[in-house]
């Protein structure tokens, strides 16, 4: 009886953890979308990912004010009113280890107005975007381009606020998953032995 109680409690706790994680992990989508999702940008990335091509990826984070015509694939993802703040996390690396981020009008961020940043895996985990006086930021797009200056979409999707879950939590979740996986392997072996 006691054993059953513990078993059910453990299952309930695990299920709750999983559901909580699933719920919170939706905020991480942008990582997958920027880096790993099957979008136009990924094709671009993968198609050029060999040692023979000298490739520069040009990541262009742009805040559009209404009516502004942005180059490339502008995907509305976030709506910021003056004073509201959100941030994007960008991490993109080209074959040469260089990437660029450009913030333009309507953005208050570490890059300032019209500035750019570059570097190998530039340590910009969070770029804060803030609506400014009299301006309403309506869309955000991430546009990439080749070394020749041509614009190519890097990612078709970049969702709104990305809440980073602490790495330690992610590591604990992965450790729990690994233990569950080991238990499953042990169970299969035991079932097989019992079957024989």
């Amino acid at each position: 009886m006691k054993k059953l109680f513990y078993k059910k409690t453990l299952t309930a706790v695990l299920m709750t953890c999983l559901l909580l994680f699933l719920w919170s992990s939706t905020a991480m989508t942008a990582h997958a979308d920027v880096i790993g999702g099957p979008t136009d940008g990924d094709d671009f990335y993968w198609d050029h990912r060999d040692e023979t091509v000298s490739l520069y990826v040009f990541c262009h984070v742009k805040i559009e004010t209404p009516g502004f015509d942005a180059p490339g694939d502008a995907v509305p993802v976030v709506s910021l009113k003056p004073g509201e703040r959100t941030f994007v996390e960008v991490a993109w690396q080209d074959a040469n280890g260089v990437w660029w981020v450009l913030a333009e009008d309507g953005v208050s961020g570490p890059s300032g107005h019209g500035g750019y940043m570059s570097g190998s895996w530039f340590p910009m985990e969070r770029m804060y975007l803030e609506g400014e006086d009299g301006k309403e930021v309506s869309a955000l797009s991430l546009v990439g381009g080749g070394a020749d200056g041509s614009n190519l979409p890097v990612s078709g999707r970049l969702r709104s606020t990305i809440a980073g879950i602490p790495v330690i939590v992610v590591i604990i979740v992965l450790a729990v998953l690994f233990v569950l996986w080991l238990l499953a392997v042990i169970l299969v072996i035991r079932r097989h032995k019992r079957g024989r």
């Binding site: 994680f21 699933l22 999702g37 993968w46 060999d50 991490a91 280890g97 340590p123 992965l174 996986w181």
Partner: protein, 130 residues
Amino acid sequence: MSGDWIRFTLFLRVLARQIIVSLVLTILLEGVAAFVAGLRTGRQQKTLALINVITNPVVVFLFYLYYYYGPGIPLNPLAFQLVLEAFVVLAEWRLLRMLLPELKKPFWWAFGLNLFSWGLWYLLELIVRR
């Protein structure tokens, strides 16, 4: 913060999320498909879920490992997924044969269930991402 560390943490985050989402969806999809196709006892359903718990996280891990740390092989991610799925079918075939000896054609069960879940998953991704 170094670039390698950022890349590593991104890899961990995406991995954790994808393992959970993929596992839950695969168990649900294959469970329902197997039930409709005739695997209806609790033992059969549990065994199928157990097999998925073993194979699915490994596939997700290998896929994202390749995605983030691949050696630059010009292999399309879709092609790589298909290669992994082929290994999954083989592994699940052996496991089904071992754990559910009452199944007459375990290979076709493994093939059919994986084709169904992977195909539906792929379609869903296409729809969601467009």
